[in-house]
């Protein structure tokens, strides 16, 4: 018996075994390596920091928001403003990795791409200058005063983020994070959630801005409504806030008093197609790039009915938006219908002050034409002048806005306000969300927005 034939078959098996090793190695490198290499447990990511002093982050006026202190081989990331930027700048921990700007701009902060001329000499990473106004950020934080929610302030004409606060927050210093991580993660009010950018909430009546835009586009702004306080069609029944009945009202008055009857009727009659189209124009369901991770606002229906359209038209149903997106909605009206691409990082520069890149404002979506924006502007001024948003009046400045009181899975409504000022020449747009607040948007969220606007304009 000659075993050579079978030996050759064994050789073939061995050949396949070795081939599978090479194939798997290549497969791993092609499809899995990137995710594996950026795992926070991969200590190699921190090696660059040995030779680099991580860049400093400044507010728009040069106030230091984050800096690295070097003592020997130690690198300590300091946040002089404490918790104020935990949801904007994020953290930078050897154990838990990086988040927000510290993560997204990691390469820049480490000055990568720079050619190291000498070994073992400490290089400086690039510095970031943010669009944020530190005073305003602090003021907004104080205004929130420990209530869960978010405040977002934008410059309508550019999309610059002037302030962005989410609460609850946490101490982002690595030392505190590593000590308290489990407690932070297990807390029921989820302090790690950046509510302004990653919290999804029903926008409530603030979304009537979009419905009114749809009404304008379909030529229904001259309609009047017989508001008896309750919208009832096909078994769907929606009350006005506080069961108020407003009698015969036109669209402008319906917007000012935030009549659910009128806007449900509009949504119901315009139908799912128009309501979805308008939502898409405002960017609902679309991703947009931002300097930190942002959740996509969404309408989740497999098949939308007319009742669903009625609910979405008053910002309820399966419509969910982030506070940032609601602020962008207000800013779009202020900017003549053009929604600007929001941004946080204004310039990237070297430690010696040489500017490497500067963000240019860009239009994100052409939401509506100027006529429509002008019409919505009058409606929103009316809300503050003699509607649900009277709490937002500032003497000498015309404020435009829209309140919202959004029902949710609990019996404590979310309180919303979105507005901008001065109406003639808008310089700031603000959205305020108070999570599970239980009160009306006009009474609770409105004053925060007013104070933030006043503070900014008085500067």
């Amino acid at each position: 018996m000659n075993p050579n034939k079978k030996i050759i078959r064994v050789l073939v098996v061995v050949c396949v075994m070795f081939l599978s090793l090479v194939t798997y190695l290549l497969y791993f490198n092609m499809f899995e390596a990137e995710e594996v290499a950026t795992n926070p447990y991969n200590k190699r990511q921190w090696e660059d920091e040995k030779f680099v002093k991580r860049g400093t982050i400044y507010d728009r006026d040069g106030v230091v928001l984050a800096e690295t202190e070097v003592s020997g081989d130690e690198r300590i990331r300091k946040y002089p403003q404490g918790r104020l930027y935990s949801h904007v700048i994020g953290y930078c921990s050897k154990v838990y990795g990086k988040s927000q700007l510290e993560m997204k701009y990691d390469k820049e902060l480490l000055g990568q791409g720079d050619i190291a001329i000498s070994f073992n000499e400490l290089r400086s990473g690039y510095d970031l200058t943010l669009t944020i106004d530190n005073d305003l950020q602090q003021y907004a934080y104080d205004q929130l005063n420990g209530r869960e929610g978010a405040v977002v302030a934008l410059e309508p004409t550019t999309g610059k983020v002037l302030a962005m606060v989410s609460y609850p927050d946490f101490d982002p210093s690595a030392e505190s994070l590593e000590k308290n991580w489990n407690a932070i993660v297990e807390r029921e009010d989820s302090p790690l959630l950046a509510r302004a950018t990653q919290g999804l909430y029903p926008p409530g009546s603030t979304y009537k801005i979009a419905t009114a835009a749809a009404a304008y586009e379909t030529g229904r702004i001259t309609e009047t409504f017989q508001d008896n306080g309750k919208f009832e069609r096909d078994g769907l029944s929606v009350d006005n806030y506080g069961q108020a009945a407003y009698g015969e009202i036109d669209l402008k008055r319906a917007f000012e008093v935030s009549s659910n009857y009128a806007f449900c009727t509009l949504g119901y009659e315009m139908g799912p197609e128009k309501v979805l189209e308008e939502a898409e124009r405002f960017g609902v369901g679309k991703e947009f790039g931002f300097d930190i991770p942002v959740e996509k606002s969404e309408i989740q229906y497999k098949k939308m009915t007319a009742q669903d359209a009625a609910l979405v038209s008053i910002g309820q149903g399966q419509l969910l938006m982030t506070p940032l997106h609601v602020a962008m909605m207000g800013a779009a009206v202020a900017n003549g219908g053009k929604m600007m691409q929001p941004y946080l990082v204004d310039t990237i520069s070297t430690a010696s002050g040489l500017t490497l890149s500067e963000t240019k404002p860009a239009v994100l979506y052409d939401v509506m034409d100027a006529g429509c924006a002008e019409y919505l502007d009058t409606l929103m001024q009316g809300v503050v002048a003699n509607g649900t948003g009277k709490s937002c009046q500032i003497s000498g400045i015309t404020v435009a806005g829209k309140t919202g009181t959004a029902e949710n899975e609990t019996d404590q409504d979310h309180a919303w306000f979105v507005g901008y000022a001065p109406a003639e020449n808008p310089q700031i747009a603000v959205a305020v969300l108070l999570e599970y607040d239980g009160g009306a948007g006009g009474t609770n969220a409105g004053p925060i927005a007013r104070n933030v606007i006043r503070k900014y304009l008085q500067k």
Binding site: K6, V14, Y24, L25, N29, A37, Y41
Partner: protein, 416 residues
């Protein structure tokens, strides 16, 4: 031997020397001019030239296997010097001893004709080594497989691998057909195999178990008529493996660390994830010799050295090592196929399978293709026993190859 044939082996030999000089030269520069690195490189180069000259001048058969093994050793020592210079220095000591073992084994194997009649000796020696390990052994990394003799430690399991292969070859070469205690040799061989495996289970040396079992299964496949016996053995092994998975915590940990190491990076998945981090950070071409951080990987100098190769020399460097091993296996298969003597043929096949299976198990484990079982990567990993035994195995293969090259002039095994 014609001129053309002479060129054939000289060119790769020059490449090997070039690789040695470039490698150690670069490491010398990258590692802040530590002169020890140059000494190690020069020592290694000297050893190669010496060994290779002897092989060529004495017409010792295949000239490529040793070349490729030396290439693997160069890469291994290069990385060991980079991981910790002490490892590199001690490793070339082992390479020198291994080289001596290579020639000794070559001469002894070549000149003795009755290897095929000593199955009882192999079995008794193997059992003796296992018993000694169990009685006097010390536990390293959860496996009790080291023996210390007067300040000098070695792993008996490495030696028993060769004994086991010789033992199998006695029966499968057809030289042993007398029953022992009324048991047919086939069954004695099987019992002997499971005796060895049983001892290894007691030592928790899962890697070696896999190697021995795979060699046995391939041997059955090649030599037994029909597939019933093969299927029976595989079937029983599968059932035992399943039971082992059910009841042995050791095995469960390994399987769960293979399926999802990411859920427990800090603890059970630590070794394998550190290895994957290294490979992933290396990319296709590696971070460069001296630029990576292989020291984050546990056991990087022995079982996990392949991960360090991938980090510093890239996936292509890793693939090159796999291909080198495949070429060695291929040359050895060729010697096995051309061998006239049935005992030589079986021994050569067994040793070839040992190299191939061992490489597959440890490389596959380190890249998470199969569950990880600790075992050394032949010629690359640090380790005295491993290097010496692998050289000795190569000595046997070289002797078989030399017999073929010289025709029947060598010592064929007497058959009864």
């Amino acid at each position: 031997m014609g001129k053309f044939k002479g060129l054939n082996y000289r060119r790769p030999a020059y490449l090997l020397m070039l690789m040695n000089m470039f490698g150690f030269g670069l490491l010398f520069v990258a590692n802040s001019y530590n002169p020890n690195i140059l000494y190690v490189g020069a020592g290694l180069l000297g050893l190669f030239i010496l060994m290779y000259t002897i092989i060529v001048l004495c017409r010792m058969g295949d000239k490529f296997i040793m070349l490729m093994a030396c290439m693997l050793i160069t890469i291994g020592v290069l990385l060991l010097c980079r991981i910790k210079i002490d490892y590199g220095i001690r490793q070339i000591m082992w390479v020198a001893i291994g080289g001596a073992a290579f020639f000794t084994v070559y001469v002894v194997y070549y000149n003795i004709r009755f290897w095929n009649r000593m199955w009882f000796l192999y079995l008794a020696l193997g059992t003796g080594l296992f018993l000694a390990t169990l009685l006097f052994g010390k536990v390293v990394n959860g496996s009790k497989n080291w023996i210390s003799l007067g300040g000098f430690s070695f792993q008996p399991a490495e030696i028993t691998k060769i004994l086991f292969i010789m033992f199998l070859a006695c029966y499968y070469s057809g030289s042993w057909n007398k029953p022992f205690l009324r048991l047919k040799p086939k069954w004695v061989t099987m019992l002997g195999t499971y005796l060895f495996i049983g001892f290894l289970v007691l030592q928790r040396d899962w890697g070696t178990i896999l190697v021995l079992f795979a060699i046995y299964i391939f041997m059955i496949y090649v030599y037994e008529k029909g597939y019933g016996f093969l299927a029976g053995n595989v079937g029983v092994a599968a059932i035992v493996a399943l039971l082992g998975y059910k009841f042995l915590y050791h095995i469960q940990v390994r399987v769960s660390a293979w399926l999802d190491p990411w859920s427990d990076i800090a603890d059970k998945g630590y070794q394998i994830t550190q290895s994957l981090f290294a490979i992933a950070s290396g990319g296709y071409f590696g971070r460069g010799l001296g630029n990576g951080s292989p020291n984050y990987i546990p056991e990087v100098h022995s079982d996990f050295i392949f991960a360090a190769v991938c980090e510093e020399m890239g996936v292509f460097g890793g693939a090159a090592i796999i291909i080198l091993f495949f070429l060695i296996a291929y040359r050895c298969f060729k010697i096995s196929i051309t061998a006239q003597d049935p005992f030589d043929k079986a021994v050569c096949l067994g040793l070839t399978l040992m190299f191939a299976v061992q490489t597959f198990i440890i490389v596959g484990g380190v890249i998470k293709m199969i569950p990880l079982t600790g075992i050394t990567l032949p010629f690359v990993s640090y380790g005295g026993t491993s290097i010496v035994v692998n050289f000795a195995s190569l000595g046997i293969i070289q002797a078989i190859s030399a017999k073929e090259e010289r025709g029947t002039g060598g010592a064929g095994h007497e058959s009864k």
